[in-house]
């Protein structure tokens, strides 16, 4: 059990709030045509990324998805460099070559967002082999959605991690939908954790709207993996506050669903409630963080808008190290 104090509580809140404001702001920027391409926002799911990643060091690895901004921020990627990447700027985190779906930061153990559903988990298993062979009890985490867990590559990764008893934690974020299809339709068993258990690893379902629940479950998963007992799976039920991608009319969702969830299932509200009820933090401390985060995001957007695009000479660099 973590003993919570001002520092770690404010740090966690700051991360969640940073993700939230990053995404809410992107939503506006995209509406104004500022940003090109295909963007999937993480708003609503912050408690999962942060509840998991607050446990990790830069030597622990994560692999992410097409909806990766939250995982990147939670793992410590520089917010300004991320914003520049999404704007396609020369000094973006990946020189503007990757974009929203391909942000990575190897110094932070962030092995990349991935635009192929199911592309990440096999990579996480490999990172776990490296961690195991290094012998320093580091772990890898594979983030995926409810839809991703229908991709064969994900099952292969889970089985291999069990066979080799590797320290990989599979985190499935069930936000209810894969694109425009409901999770209860596409996941035949309607039970992601149950499937993972079928592969021979402990698996549990967690309230993904509750930071403290995710954080506690991740602690158990880590203890298990770090002790050399093999992989562990978490199914985190959560919700997304925007469409699948920006521009999605969301005709598959009940009219008031998002509104209702923003009201009842907002992990930031839940956090604020809990920490103030417990008397761990007061509103003023939290409001101060909010203000700082808003300033940071404003700055990130301003810098991203002002930053120069990559030079066309960059078109054919970085294909190989040597060719």
């Amino acid at each position: 059990m973590t003993d919570w104090n001002n520092d770690n509580l404010l740090a966690a809140y700051r991360r969640m709030k940073t993700i939230r404001e990053f995404e809410e702001r992107l939503h506006l920027e995209i509406q104004q045509g500022q940003i090109a391409g295909f963007t999937h926002l993480y708003s609503g799911q912050e408690a999962v990324a942060v509840g998991v990643c607050e446990h990790l060091s830069d030597q622990d690895y994560i692999v992410s998805t097409h909806r990766g901004h939250g995982h990147c921020i939670a793992k410590g990627c520089d917010v300004i460099a991320m914003m520049k990447e999404i704007y396609g700027r020369a000094d973006g985190l990946c020189k503007g070559k990757g974009g929203s779906m391909h942000i990575a930061d190897f110094d932070k153990g962030m092995l990349g967002a991935n635009a192929i559903v199911g592309g990440g988990p096999p990579l996480a298993v490999g990172a776990a082999i490296a961690a195991r062979n290094a012998g320093e009890r580091h772990v890898s985490v594979a983030f995926g959605g409810d839809g991703s867990c229908n991709q064969g590559t994900v099952f292969e990764a889970m089985n291999l991690a069990v066979v080799l008893q590797l320290p990989t934690i599979f985190v499935f974020e069930d936000n209810g939908y894969s694109e425009h299809t409901g999770a209860d339709y596409a996941v035949g068993s309607k039970d992601i954790a149950g499937r993972c258990a079928g592969f021979g690893m402990p698996a549990e379902r967690v309230d993904g709207d509750d930071f403290f629940a995710v954080h506690a479950a991740m602690q158990k998963a880590l203890d298990h993996a770090r002790a050399g007992n093999g992989p562990y799976a978490l199914e985190c039920t959560t919700t997304r506050f925007f469409g699948h991608f920006e521009g999605d009319p969301q005709r598959y969702r009940a009219k008031d669903e998002v509104e209702r969830h923003r009201e009842d299932r907002d992990c930031l509200k839940n956090f604020r409630q809990r920490v103030t009820d417990e008397g761990w933090l007061d509103e003023a401390e939290l409001d101060a963080v909010d203000a700082e985060v808003l300033a940071l995001i404003d700055d990130a957007v301003a810098q991203a808008q002002a930053a120069p695009p990559p030079s066309v000479d960059e078109l054919t660099t970085d294909v190989y190290i040597a060719y």
Partner: protein, 336 residues
Amino acid sequence: MTETTFRQALNDAMFEEMRRDERVIILGEDVSGGAGGTSGERDASGGIFGVSKGLIFEFGEDRVIDTPISESAIIGAGAGAALAGLRPISEIMFADFVGVCMDQIYNQAAKFRYMFGGKTRCPLVIRTAMGAGMNMGAQHSQTIYPILTGVPGLKVVVPSNAADAKGLLKTAIRDDDPVVFFEHKALYNRKCEVPDGEHLVPFGEAAMPREGDDCTVVAMGRMVVFAEKAIDGLAASGITCDLIDPRTLSPLDTDTIFESLEHTGRLVIVDESPPRCSVASDIAGIVASEAFGSLRAPIKLVTAPHAPVPFARELERAYMPGPGDIAAAIQDVCNG
């Protein structure tokens, strides 16, 4: 004739063929959409690009099948249903995703008839969206038709306009061999006149949207649009070209290319893919071995660079061959 978008022409083709033959089914991710959603609304998607809109209401869930994110199962189920007498259309949302289902395409569907001694058929159509131009990044922007054009047993279709899109898709659905049908994302909203009523375009017959004397230009998919721009722009400077749109890359109409070359003696090939083992170098190789005598100048290949598709607008624009690159290449071979 009715002016129709590329998207609508494809949608019309599927409606017509599904009405004509109840063995035709479609399966893929969100081909209808809304299954298991909280609004209860079906067809909430109609295909992520809207190409299969409305099919579910007329043909129902047994023929318009939403699937999980399981491309190997989407292709494999299509291929298995084809062996069992149906005529499925399996949709792979983005062509880039063939990587997760390649085996079912190239070792299964493509090889059944041959491996089984001609005792079966696999009338499967694989529809998929390809191409760069929307800043979708390295894993959502590829034109991967070269790797499938090389596969014996497959037919490969790359329409460049709405009329051909309709006529070729109808032909694909009626074809008894497996067909991979590539739809360029940047063409979905483009309109052109589409013949009213039954419109079928045969495989293996190239179109020639421009005719001229100085150079033969072969282009496919969206590159046909750019080549037209380039060629029209050159008219002023007195250079005229045959523009050949193969429409199907397998089978490939080499006769039309060879005939044109006899007349022009010069060849430019335009392909949105990277250069190595591309359809561009393939056609060049075929010409260098089978129509060498007609060549009066080096063949010019206009392709993307040997690099993944970059994200940033400026880089992606530089990545794709454009009308300017094509015009320059034509001038090169004509004046060089």
